[in-house]
């Protein structure tokens, strides 16, 4: 089974603190993602990475950065936490699609990290 592990389930941080959220996957997946989930807004993509040291901005990258130094590990960094970053953060991974149309792939999620910024 695919395992995506997020290092912290619950965190409470102060405004202005630097926050690191770590994620590790054990299936040698090329792609890794960070989402946040907020009520009524669904899953919003923050950043994703399709290879080591590569990153792409998602829909809401402002206030966040990421690091992917190893294939299995993808870190989300809040440089200076703010109260509007209080949320559930979800890490995920997937393989690349297979060759040809309709060779779909599946995205697998970690358990989530609840971050409260006070």
């Amino acid at each position: 089974d695919v395992k995506v592990t997020q290092s912290s389930r619950y965190l409470v941080k102060r405004t202005g603190e630097k926050v690191f959220l770590e994620c590790v996957q054990d299936m040698d997946h090329e792609n890794m993602f960070w989402y946040r989930q907020d009520p009524g807004l669904g899953l919003r993509l923050i950043y994703f990475s399709y290879d080591v040291k590569m990153k792409e901005k998602g829909d809401i990258p402002e206030g966040y950065s990421v690091s992917r130094e190893k294939k299995e590990r993808f870190s989300l960094i809040l440089e200076s936490a703010s109260t509007n970053q209080t949320s559930m953060y979800l890490c995920a991974s997937s393989t690349n699609p297979g060759t040809g149309v309709n060779s779909g792939n599946t995205i697998y999620f970690g358990e989530g990290s609840w971050l409260t910024v006070v």
């Binding site: 807004l41 669904g42 899953l43 399709y50 979800l90 997937s94 779909g104 599946t106 995205i107």
Partner: protein, 112 residues
């Protein structure tokens, strides 16, 4: 702009009846669709998927229907059970890319 939409934020169904969750998409390049189930304080778990070469896929109590011309898919749960109470997300991807696009979710409550 939201490319995958779930227009019903919530749905309540009696135990034993059918639950139908709907999802619409706008991008004709999408060719693979997935449904995820999410309990509070947990990550989403994969439920069922469908490729655009099919119009139906079944897995036990769960069936997904795809209507490409209408750019619409639906998830049917029969019979519904209280343990099915969760938020359901639909997602779409295109074979040419490695991104997934999610709807905003539908919260299903199955009443015993």
């Amino acid at each position: 702009d939201q490319q995958v939409k779930q227009n019903s934020p919530s749905l309540s169904v009696q135990e034993g009846r059918i639950s139908i969750l709907n999802c619409d998409y706008t991008n004709s390049m999408f060719d693979y669709f997935l449904w995820y189930k999410k309990y509070p304080a947990e990550g989403p778990t994969f439920l069922i998927s469908i490729s655009s070469i099919k119009d139906k896929n079944e897995d036990g109590r769960f069936t997904v229907f795809l209507n490409k011309s209408a750019k619409h898919l639906s998830l049917h749960i029969v019979p519904s059970q209280p343990g099915d109470s969760a938020v359901y997300f639909c997602a779409a991807s295109a074979w040419s890319g490695n991104q997934f696009y999610f709807g905003t979710g539908t919260s299903l409550t199955v009443i015993p």
